[in-house]
Symmetry: none
Subunit: 150 residues, 4 copies
Amino acid sequence: MSHVPATRPLDYGAPISLEAAKRVMAAAEAEARANDWPMVIAIVDSGGHLVMLHSLDHAQHGSVVIAQEKARCAVNFKRTTKTFEDALAEGGFNLRILAAPGMMPLEGGLPLVADGKIVGAIGVSGMRSTQDGQVAEAGAKALQDGMADR
Amino acid sequence: MSHVPATRPLDYGAPISLEAAKRVMAAAEAEARANDWPMVIAIVDSGGHLVMLHSLDHAQHGSVVIAQEKARCAVNFKRTTKTFEDALAEGGFNLRILAAPGMMPLEGGLPLVADGKIVGAIGVSGMRSTQDGQVAEAGAKALQDGMADR
Amino acid sequence: MSHVPATRPLDYGAPISLEAAKRVMAAAEAEARANDWPMVIAIVDSGGHLVMLHSLDHAQHGSVVIAQEKARCAVNFKRTTKTFEDALAEGGFNLRILAAPGMMPLEGGLPLVADGKIVGAIGVSGMRSTQDGQVAEAGAKALQDGMADR
Amino acid sequence: MSHVPATRPLDYGAPISLEAAKRVMAAAEAEARANDWPMVIAIVDSGGHLVMLHSLDHAQHGSVVIAQEKARCAVNFKRTTKTFEDALAEGGFNLRILAAPGMMPLEGGLPLVADGKIVGAIGVSGMRSTQDGQVAEAGAKALQDGMADR
């Protein structure tokens, strides 16, 4: 299906360090604060294990789980959760995504890539999924910037 | 509905032996390697119990569960998972598939048949579902060839 | 039983803010780093919802769940998880703790108190439970110090 | 507590390759066959994801889950499952192990170590736990031998 890569996807790399995750988190948190969005931001490593989670004041409780599931989906399936959201919107047999364990068709989950490998993922939840995606992008971009600095 | 056979389906046979499962796995694995597809391949027996699972290097983590679910669906409902995928694509009341526990509408799950009985199933996950299906077919075919050899 | 307070326990207060949680986390993380202990540190609010989690590099994966469960237990039962550990060690009818959902008899979970109310809890996991407790104490103390500063 | 290392445990390494896992599996399977023990043998990677599972003919169904849980416990807590079994046998406050998510106090789970890092774990189930442990040892030893060959 269109949301599944026909070519070989990126390999997994070593798990993201807490230090690198902190840079991702700081950038995502800043983006959320700048917009006054009460969100939960989660970062998992390349094995899908939670490395960092910050819940901004007054974020809805349900987002604690959703943010983690978005991040886990992004790393477990090596693609953005928006890919699944878009595919689902096409309907037809893409509705099958709803039946697949771990596939989270809600924008806001992005793989975190360093040196061409997937080192983890970020998941954001709390506002509209496009807004969640905006904050996740801000986080993911910080990792790339940091990598360029080395 | 169209995806439910009107004629009596095959009976369950004895559980596939590990030896026979190894032949299925070898053929499926070879097909995946020939295409450089990082996949998870699972084989369950006629009772739905996992007999064999191989995860190729760098396969997406999420496929470990999906491959098993495809195989389990194929044996539990005595048909290919593509049957459910096709039915779901028709929409209408076939959407009910999404609410049915164990019905996995993703191509890549096939019953394994020997001597006219269902001895197990193979499930493959990791690439496009048509590619998953291609690898599952290669595995299932090996069992039939092997049976013919005896 | 001995581990249940005979006097009225503290009331729940407003959920701990992310800012206050960050002070708790910083102190706990510093204590863990000073000892080179790879740990997971979790902070939940007065409702038991995860507010913050940091996993130090190479912490055992299993601690991601255990740290959260310790924190959740401490806030849900308004006492330290060591209270349950000690009670369990007495045996006898205290074995019932093992059957009680959410009671986590492993040292390393502490309520976080501010202005005489429970605002959350900290849970630490990754080393010996006494070491986990030491790091949790360092975190909890930071909140009290911070409160005194205001 | 005695089963928790007071010193810093081994770090996680890259996930075990399918090729290395096959050597571990072959050695464990040979040991089980030599004794005519119907067992399930599971190998997970350093992230706890299932890499390989073989179920010998007539193994009890329940072992499919138990073997995986033993392997996952060994990698998630960076120690043998026998460590938890021994600790539990001491009673007293070690009974708390029964309440800790993911701690599996049944011999037969071992971390797989290569170049001083934990690359995965093997879990075996189907017979007495000492026999499960014997087969797991045979598998883990094959990895070390193989490493020496390089």
